[in-house]
């Protein structure tokens, strides 16, 4: 199956006064048409930077995509001139962000903002663009879409704002939708609605979805494939079922164990010991070794590669997936 998005060995580094932060350091993932890839990990592991790299939205004085290849619907993203890149953003690939409260421009109506997205990429007139905008507002479940067009963002609730963002992102039917923690800032009761909306719209248009989250529950509901990231690298990836039923990497295991269980009663909640290392100073060898209960000597000095442990299921660990004891 032709992949809509293919990222190969992406490295995005930030050159700050205090050193180089290797936020994304060798990530390879891919998403197919009508499929959802869940990118999961704690804050600081590089998931958002990966997403921003796809659209080349990394702030350029400190940040830079130093290596790798990104292919989007056959186009080599990293070699495109900026003018063509602008064409792609919003049309071939769209992104929605975590903070709907601040992601919309407060001084323009939501109608204006959606129409802007349409008119940048097509030569539609205002009236035509307005129709499309209204159509999509209705699709995402905004009540009275025609009247809502002239409302300002502050007049909408968080959930509504996120729906507007989704409308804006999907109105030009992109091949890829990147959703960076789309429900994290929303009430739990609203989250389900947003997720369902994304799923429905995906089914309608066949859009590939890259869903970034730290919430395994959301992954379970939405993702077909999963990639677990830690400290700028993918440590485990594979089909969702496979990962959930038979996770391999100790970090993934830690993530699952940290979920409060509804059936078991434990006295203490499990946490992975230690904290996520700063991107300025990753540990040598396997980056997880400082927090890993299974770490051996080899882990401290050599980085484990991603190896197949099952069909489509890969893991990077010397102990569990390296053939070494």
């Amino acid at each position: 199956m032709e992949q809509v998005l293919k990222i190969e060995d992406l490295r995005t580094h930030f050159f700050t006064g205090e050193g180089v932060a290797r936020a994304v350091d060798g990530v390879s993932v891919s998403v197919g048409k009508n499929r959802t890839l869940g990118l999961v990990g704690e804050s600081g592991c590089g998931k958002s930077v990966t997403a921003l790299s796809i659209l080349r939205l990394i702030p350029s004085p400190p940040g830079k995509i130093v290596d790798g290849k990104i292919t989007l619907s056959g186009k080599d993203i990293l070699s495109l001139p900026e003018v063509e890149m602008r064409d792609i953003r919003g049309k071939l690939a769209s992104m929605i962000f975590q903070e709907p409260m601040t992601s919309l421009n407060p001084v323009f109506t939501i109608g204006t903002q959606i129409i802007e997205a349409v008119r940048i990429h097509t030569d539609m007139g205002k009236a035509e663009a307005r129709e499309i905008a209204t159509e999509y507002l209705s699709k995402v479940g905004i009540p009275a879409p025609a009247e809502s067009m002239s409302q300002y963002p502050h007049q909408l609730s968080g959930g509504m704002k996120q729906r507007v963002m989704i409308a804006m992102a999907l109105c030009l039917k992109p091949a890829l939708l990147i959703a960076d923690e789309p429900t994290t800032a929303l009430d739990v009761t609203i989250q389900a609605g947003i997720l369902r909306l994304i799923k429905d719209l995906q089914a309608e248009t066949g859009t590939a979805v890259l869903l970034i989250t730290h919430d395994l529950g959301i992954i379970a509901e939405m993702a077909d494939e999963v990639a677990v990231m830690y400290a700028g690298k993918v440590v485990e990836s594979g089909p969702c079922n496979s990962i959930f039923s038979s996770f391999v990497h100790p970090y993934t295991e830690g993530l699952f164990k940290s979920l409060p269980s509804r059936t078991e009663r434990r006295r203490k909640l499990y946490t992975i010991s230690g904290t996520v290392p700063s991107a300025l100073r990753f540990p040598p060898g396997c980056r997880f070794h400082t927090r890993c209960p299974l770490a051996i000597e080899k882990c401290k000095s050599e980085e484990p590669p991603l190896v197949d442990v099952d069909s489509g299921h890969r893991c990077a660990c010397w102990v569990r997936a390296g053939g070494s004891a």
Binding site: L57, R86, K91, S94, F97, E99, S103
Partner: protein
């Protein structure tokens, strides 16, 4: 809208009263009338002269309540320094200048226009020049152009305004003779006297203005909605000129509209230097000749202007920020 303005004006009343009180305290309590008289009368006045001055200015009356019967035997309890001061200001019955022997209100009428002929062009020109430069710098943010521009701004800001005026006048008017050195003309011929002061006014404010606008722009550029706009495919120019600029208007307006009432007050230094007979000149003369009635009145009027300015500023917000509603 009318309700809002009325309410703000009513709320401003206690502040205005406070301002009158402060000026009263300053000129009556913190400085004794005799000391003021002595300063006014110049070198070594006789006690008789001092007393005459004090009586003529009504400063020998009691502070708050006058229970002494007057010449005709009547008692006017509100004929005291405090009440006279308050009514003078609040009822706009402005006094006469000690020095110029004209009513302050007449002086004001004469002097406002010359001040405006300098401040208004300077104000407009300043915005027209600094805003585009700031936008340009924001476009190149993070690059060496940005850093160089910022350094230049700081250097320009570090040159005291006196230098701009003195050196500017010396070089451009005296040495190169591009402009007349000094003077003013009422009527159409005034413009050639205005060019140099206006240019110098704009030049001296360039560094600070560009830096301020740049900071405002860069604050907005960091916002999330800019990231969304770029993710939609909006160009750099589109982001700056549409998205950022409109949001930046909010803080920019605060500063700009607030300074509009002060266009009337005129620039002390420019008027002094170029012989413009405006409000700044009036103020300066009043200072040097210890003309208290003028100073008192000016402080009061300028405070009213400030209050008017802040009401105007609040109203202007509603024009640019849809989140602000008259409540």
């Amino acid at each position: 809208m009318i309700h809002y303005i009325v309410r703000r004006l009513l709320l401003a009343v206690p502040t205005v009263l406070g301002v009158c009180l402060v000026t009263f305290l300053l000129f009556n309590v913190f400085a004794s009338p005799e000391a003021v008289a002595r300063k006014q009368l110049g070198k070594n006045p006789t006690p008789a002269q001092v007393k005459a001055w004090v009586t003529a200015h009504g400063m020998d009356k009691p502070m708050f309540f006058n229970l002494n019967p007057g010449k005709d035997g009547s008692i006017r309890p509100f004929d005291s320094r405090f009440w006279n001061h308050m009514t003078e200001l609040l009822l706009f019955r402005f006094p006469e200048s000690d020095y110029l022997h004209e009513k302050v209100i007449d002086l004001l009428k004469q002097k406002i226009v010359p001040s405006l002929t300098i401040t208004v062009p300077a104000f407009l020109l300043s915005i027209l020049v600094t805003l585009p430069i700031a936008l340009l710098i924001a476009y190149y943010r993070g690059t060496y152009i940005d850093r160089l521009a910022l350094l230049i701004c700081v250097i320009l800001m570090s040159i005291v305004i006196l230098n701009y005026i003195i050196v500017g006048q010396y070089l451009l008017a005296v040495v190169f003779k591009y402009f007349p050195i000094y003077g003013y003309d009422f009527g159409v011929g005034a413009w050639k006297f205005l060019l140099l002061p206006v240019i110098l006014a704009v030049a001296s404010g360039l560094g600070g203005g560009v830096r301020f606008y740049r900071t405002v722009m860069l604050n907005e550029v960091r916002a999330d909605y800019v990231r969304t706009a770029m993710a939609k495919g909006v160009s750099e120019e589109g982001v700056l000129f549409k998205h950022v600029l409109k949001n930046a208007m909010i803080p920019i307006l605060t500063v700009t509209v607030l300074s509009i009432p002060f266009l009337i007050t005129g620039s002390l230094l420019l008027e002094m230097y170029f012989g413009i007979p405006g409000m700044g000149n009036l103020m300066l003369n009043a200072i040097n000749s210890h003309d208290y009635p003028v100073i008192r009145t000016l402080v009061y009027i300028y405070s009213l202007l400030y209050i008017a300015g802040s009401i105007l500023t609040d109203i202007s917000y509603t024009l640019v920020d849809p989140r602000v509603v008259f409540e």
